[in-house]
């Protein structure tokens, strides 16, 4: 499916499947096309090329052209609550009203829905008096009350403070599970994607970069883009010098890294190490255990305190970023210019398949088909 706006392709996907009852988290930076994807799937817009199938049947989208009956089996929640003027009850009952549900039933279902999410006492309140969190919860209730088969959510909790966000994530997840609602949840927050999604789709510039379980996306990124986006900050390129019994020694600029992999010697590889997997120790520790794998001595070039954690950059001589607790940073007395040891396990090193990058390069050279 492809979508162009004014000659520019903003979305280009070969194939995407959302399974019944699953929550698919769509993750990516701003501008990667995830919101466009959602609008297309919700039939608010029509694709420039390609077809959308709902339970195997092709459906149409776009103003004036929508398959209304299918469209009515879905609902969407946006980043802003987008509540309509009036009372909470008017809003929650809106979807039922356009489906011509009789007033009495409408009011009852609205009431039940609000009670279910713990907002029953807000029923007759005017929406202009709601707080941000309440408003967004009403927006979600408004979408759920129509019992959609598919719920689309476009960064619904992005504007909320963390505690409210976590509460809503939990509530939404359990309601979706309980009622077997399929959902497509767009977010730019990896944690949220992992929390909400049964499967995660990572998007980059209108294309799918990787699709899979949270574990796979976080720990087995298939491209450098996915790795970086998922927080694998240490990316090093090198060549396998030796490989036996599942462990390979990779020569990188300025050192040697041991990796658990079956790949053979001679191959170029891209390695990724999560900063959380890098342990910082005093230099003496490294020197006394010279045979230890993946131990390096480096100079601290930068320290960034981020609340409870500290992000430390070392030159080993290749650059290595470590994330340690604030307490550890204090105990180790880390400061710029000081020398420290850095260590990580061979199993913690991710091999990002260079083949994938090669395939991408070839495609770019050949141009669009």
């Amino acid at each position: 499916m492809r979508k162009d706006y004014g000659g520019r392709t903003v979305l280009d996907i070969e194939r995407l499947e959302v399974r019944s009852g699953e929550t698919l988290a769509v993750l990516g930076p701003s501008g990667c096309g995830k919101s466009v994807l959602l609008r297309l799937l919700n039939l608010l817009e029509s694709p420039t090329a390609g077809t959308i199938l709902f339970h195997g049947e092709p459906v149409r989208g776009g103003p004036g052209n929508r398959s209304l009956d299918v469209s009515r089996r879905m609902a969407m929640v946006f980043q802003d609550p987008l509540l309509f003027r009036g009372s909470v009850e008017d809003n929650v009952g809106y979807g039922l009203k356009v489906r011509k549900v009789p007033v009495a039933e409408r009011v009852q279902r609205a009431r039940d829905m609000l009670d279910a999410v713990g907002l029953g006492d807000l029923l007759s309140q005017n929406v202009s008096t709601l707080s941000g969190g309440e408003a967004q919860r009403i927006a979600v209730a408004r979408a759920l009350v129509i019992k959609p088969e598919v719920l689309m959510l476009d960064e619904p909790f992005a504007n909320l403070d963390p505690p409210t966000r976590h509460l809503l994530q939990e509530d939404t997840r359990s309601i979706l599970r309980e009622q077997g609602i399929s959902a497509i949840f767009v977010t730019h927050d990896q944690e949220e994607a992992a929390r909400m999604g049964d499967r995660i789709l990572v998007m980059d510039n209108g294309k799918i970069a990787q699709e899979g379980l949270a574990r796979e996306i976080f720990h087995e990124p298939e491209t450098e883009f996915v790795a970086r986006f998922m927080g694998v900050e240490n990316i090093l390129r090198g060549e396998i010098r030796e490989s036996s019994e599942g462990i390979a020694r990779v020569a990188v600029d300025g050192g040697s890294i041991e990796v658990t992999t079956d790949r053979e010697a001679g191959r170029s590889v891209t390695l990724g190490i999560r900063p959380e997997d890098v342990t910082l120790v005093p230099v003496a520790d490294i020197e006394s255990r010279a045979s230890s794998r993946n131990s390096f001595i480096g100079t601290v070039t930068a320290i960034e305190m981020r609340g409870p954690i500290a992000r430390v950059t070392l030159a080993c001589p290749f650059e290595l970023v470590a994330i340690i607790t604030w307490r550890s940073a204090v105990e180790l007395d880390i400061e710029t210019g000081a020398r420290f040891g850095a260590r990580f396990k061979a199993v913690a090193v991710v091999v990002i398949d260079d083949d994938t990058r090669l395939v991408r390069d070839i495609n770019e050279a050949e141009g669009p088909k």
């Binding site: 987008l82 356009v98 309440e134 129509i146």
Partner: protein
């Protein structure tokens, strides 16, 4: 007919003619404005330009051309609308409708367009989604009709040409003021003038309050649902 009864008749007639014209203009103008704002169709921009242009039509010219069409010796003379109250309402509808449509279009354009998208994503048809936007810009709709009314109740050119300002039959506040001033019946004319000023002031007070009370920030608040 006594001066007093002329006075009251003119008062009643103005309110009736302009009131009816305003209501009819609302029925035509609001949907027209909504159509121009919410739907795409060939010629949309042209029609919108015409609507904006017609907002400033000189009443006397509208009166003239309408008269030329409905006068006894004109193309539609057989309908017999010459010098009737009916044709007075018609010319005022022609004058007020562009105002209603233009204001409606402007008000709806200011409403967050995502609201229509949200309504449709909840199952609304395009028309139902447009109604959501109309409700959101309620004040704009009311203001448009009041503005239309304000325009036509104060005009004299159109109604005097097509109505003929016949005493006790087609004399409105404005046409009677002209007549009485010429005849030297100054007290009555002055009183009529005061009434018209009062109506004008009321119209403008309403309009100002409607616009001030519902500034963009208010509407924005409702859309995002925050009160802080």
């Amino acid at each position: 007919m006594s001066t007093a009864s002329q006075f009251f008749h003119a008062l009643w007639l103005s309110l009736a003619v302009s009131g009816s014209a305003a209501l009819i203009s609302a029925v035509i103008g609001i949907p027209l404005g909504a159509l121009l704002s919410e739907f795409e169709f060939p010629g949309r921009k042209t029609i919108l330009t015409i609507v904006h242009a017609f907002m400033g039509l000189p009443p006397v010219v509208v009166g003239l051309y309408t008269f030329l069409v409905i006068m006894r010796t004109g193309p539609l003379g057989s309908i017999g609308l010459e010098y009737t109250v009916t044709v007075m309402v018609i010319v005022q509808v022609i004058l007020a409708t562009p105002i209603v449509a233009g204001f409606t279009h402007a008000s709806l354009s200011e409403v967050d367009s995502r609201l229509a998208m949200q309504a449709m994503s909840l199952g609304a048809t395009r028309i139902q989604a447009t109604i959501v936007k109309i409700r959101q810009a309620r004040e704009g709709m009311v203001a448009s009709v009041i503005a239309g009314f304000g325009r036509v109740i104060a005009e004299v050119g159109a109604v005097s040409i097509v109505g003929g300002a016949i005493t006790g039959k087609t004399d409105t506040i404005t046409t009677l003021i002209v007549k009485q001033t010429r005849l030297g019946v100054y007290t009555s004319a002055a009183l009529l003038g005061l009434v018209l000023i009062a109506i004008s002031i009321l119209v403008n007070v309403f309009l100002t309050r409607l616009q001030a009370g519902k500034g963009a920030s208010e509407i924005g608040k409702r859309v995002t649902g925050y009160s802080d």
